[in-house]
Structure formats: C-alpha cells, structure tokens
C-alpha cells in the first residue's frame, strides 16, 4: 500500500481527468436529453420518430462499442467527409472527445426518458394558466416548467449520474489517461495491481458518496414547497 501513496499524484491527476470527463459528458447528455424530450413530446411525428430511434438504438448497443466505433471509425468518417467536401482539414478525435461524445450520446437517451417523464408530470392546466396570463413560451419554461421538471426529474437524474460516473472507467480501454488507466499502468510497473485497483475502487466510492451529498442538497432545495410524509 506504500507504493499507492508514492504514486498519489498520478492517481489524483487521473481522478481529475475522470471527473472532467464525467462532467463534460453529463453536460452533453443533459442537452441531448432536453432536445430528445422536447422532440418526443412534440406534435411533429417525424421528430417523435427520430427521438424514438435514438432511444431504441442506445438501449440496444453497449457504450464501449459506440465509444470504439467513434474513436476508431469516427476519425476516418470525419476526415473522409472533410476531404470530400473541402470544408475542413485533418481533424483529430482524441480519446477525451470520443469518450465525452459517446458517453454523452448514451446518457442523453436515458436523460430523454427522465425529462420526458418529468415534463409529463406537470399538470397541463398550469401551462394553460401561464398562457392565459400572457406569458411567452420562454417565460413559461423558466417559471413553470423548469422548476417543477427538475423536482420530478431529480431521482432518475441522480441514478443516471451514478451510472455515468461508473461508465467513465471504460474510456481507459481506448487509452485515455484517466484514473483507471493510470492506476493499472502504475500497478503493473510496481507489480502491485491489486493495491492500485483497490485504491481506484475506493476513489470511485468517494466520488459517488460526494455526489450523493450534493444531489441530496439539490433535492431538498427543489422540494422546499412540497409536503413530504
């Protein structure tokens, strides 16, 4: 266990990469989730269809497969497209970008379902009341839909986030120098793989415990006006 302490800086910098990756993917997934939810709730059948295909596709394919497809295949597609159209020169998709896009894409589908359910839980009459007061759609979203949507979405959002943090470990397989990659490299070189992997597990437990505290605070904040038994 001494060697783990010796390599603490390597583990910490890996943790920083993992956290950055998780937060960037979360941001992307929330954006995709909001777009997906509004597409699923839209009147337009085509947008509903596309959002339906998106969520079905993601449910069918493991995230590591998408990640590898994007990392190894996406590079070629993007550059072939650039060469054919002449719009851009050589583009490099590094491991971090491939990780953010694939994890964001996968969890965007889960967020779509989360937000869709949350928006549907808001009584229709409140939106109508907003319209009859002369609110613009943007104001209705900000004052009526958003605060309640967040409250309804939080439990499922929390769940998605906890799964997302764990999914970031897979990016080490395509070679991003994240926590898992750094730890397994260090573990191999000092011949103590167990100690290092165990340290990684503990760090992941700490990360999830921290986010649990933060999300519980959010939950309390958005449930201020609600009586709980």
């Amino acid at each position: 266990m001494d060697s783990v302490w010796e390599y603490r800086n390597l583990l910490l910098s890996g943790t920083a990469v993992t956290v950055q990756l998780a937060l960037a993917s979360l941001t992307l997934s929330v954006i995709l989730g909001l777009i997906g939810a509004s597409a699923k709730l839209a009147v337009n059948p085509i947008s509903r269809r596309i959002a339906g295909i998106y969520t079905t596709l993601v449910r069918g394919v493991p995230d590591l497969v998408l990640m590898m497809l994007l990392f190894y295949g996406g590079q070629q597609v993007v550059n072939d497209l650039g060469a054919a159209t002449g719009w851009w020169d050589y583009v490099e998709i590094n491991q971090f970008i491939a990780g953010v896009w694939s994890i964001g894409f996968v969890f965007g589908a889960y967020m779509t379902e989360t937000f869709r359910g949350a928006i549907l839980a808001i009584p229709r009459g409140q939106i109508e009341a907003g319209i009859s007061c002369g609110m613009t759609p943007l104001l209705i979203f900000r004052r009526i839909t958003w605060p309640q949507m967040v409250r309804h979405a939080l439990p499922s959002f929390t769940n998605n986030w906890l799964v997302l943090i764990k999914a970031t470990a897979l990016v080490s397989v395509i070679g991003l120098h994240d926590l898992v990659w750094n730890a397994s490299t260090a573990g191999r070189s000092v011949r103590e793989p167990f100690s290092f992997m165990f340290a990684v597990l503990i760090i992941y437990l700490i990360l999830t415990a921290f986010s649990d505290v933060g999300l519980r605070w959010l939950d309390r904040r958005y449930n201020v006006g609600v009586d709980r038994a």
Partner: protein
Amino acid sequence: MAMAAQERTFFEYLVYISENHSPLDFMLVADHIDKFFFGALLTLEITILSLFIGGVMAVPLAIARAYRTPWFNGPIWGFTYFFRGTPLLVQTYLVYYGLAQFDFVRESFLWGPILSSAWWCALITFSLNTAGYTTEFLRGAIENTPKGEIEAAQACGMSQARMMWRIVLPSAFRRALPAYSNEVIFMLHSSVVLSTITLQDILGVGRWLNGRYYLAYEGFVTAMVFYMVLVFFISTGFRLWEKRWLGHLRPRDTAGA
C-alpha cells in the same frame, strides 16, 4: 479492366463491390461471421450463467435485508454498496490482474484451474456484481408486499417459511420483473468488459477483425448489430413473460365479454 469485369462470376462481383465501392466491406464480415457467432455464444454464456448464479445468491440476501436480520443486514448492505458503487471494469481488473499479487493466491489449489483463467474471473466478478444489484431491487419488491397478503397468509395459519415461499416471493418476483429485464440488458451491455481481459466475446471478435485487417469500423458495426439483435430478443422475451406473469394487472377487455 472491362474485359475482366465480364468474366467475373456474381460472387466475385459482390466481393469487388464490397471492397471498392461499399463503405463497409460486407463480404469480409460475411467471411468471418462464424467467429461473431462464437463470440455471441461466449457473451450469452457468461451473461446467462452470471445472471443465474447472481440471482440465486440474491434471493436469500434480499430476504435478510428486507427483514433487517441482525448480523447479516449490515455486511450485506456493505456488499451491495461496494458492488453497485464501483465500475464493473475495475472490479474485473481487481480479480483478474490483481489477485496474482498475492503469493498465497498463486500457491493455492484454486489458482491453476480457476483464478488464473479469464473466463472464471469474469464469471465470479459478474455474478457478484449482478447479485449486488438484484439484491437491492428484490429487497424493495419484498418490502412492498401488500400488508393484506401477509395478513391473509397468517390467517390461513401458514408458517413463516411457507408464507415466504407461497406468498411473499412469488408476488415480489412479479413486482421485480420490469426492473429485472433492465438488469438483464444492463448485464449484456456490461459483458463487453470480457473483451478487455483477453476473451473473444462479440466485441472481442470485432476488435480482432479490425486489428487483423486494419479496418476502422467493420468489426464494431457488426458487433453493434449483434448486440442490438440480442437486446431485441431479450426485451421481446420479457414482454411476453410480463404478459403472462403480470396478466392479472392488465386492464381487462370488458367490451368483448
């Protein structure tokens, strides 16, 4: 070139199209499709075995958790918290690469047949992992047993064990079924970890194909299709199963009667 084109058989023509004009070299994939089927067998083998072992473990653990059995409740909670709070990839690395660190493990009789084999390490880790998840949602299902059902069982004079076997578990399994179908698909998705510890599962074959022919996406796209088909079959199966097991909860068609 034009002369050669006329002499080609249809098969050679397909190969030509596939290699030169199609974005995916589908004939190359078709040549190696048997490998993908063997990969699918390995994926299914590990997924099904670990779901079975994990499921068998989860039932007593969930009962102990639901009834807050002293001595057991705390450790079981620790077990599920650990396995649900950490990535399966790292758990698998810990067992497969990590255990070799200890001399007593390498000298034990288990080392040769089991702990040095990727297949067994994966099976052990996956089983424990799915046992952790299954325990927790099964516990929730047991705790949500309607009070009336238990009172009815007690009124009939059932013993604790018989009540558990005849009333509580069957009704809890029904309520847990939707969550369990998610767990099965989740386990199938997680089984891609197999390809990171040298095993040739579906993704492993895809990676092998890409590496061997220096391709960018053929192997991954084929793997993707295989996974989608498997998920399709699993979710259709569960839908039928739910129809049968949860049939009494469906709205009844009164108009036809």
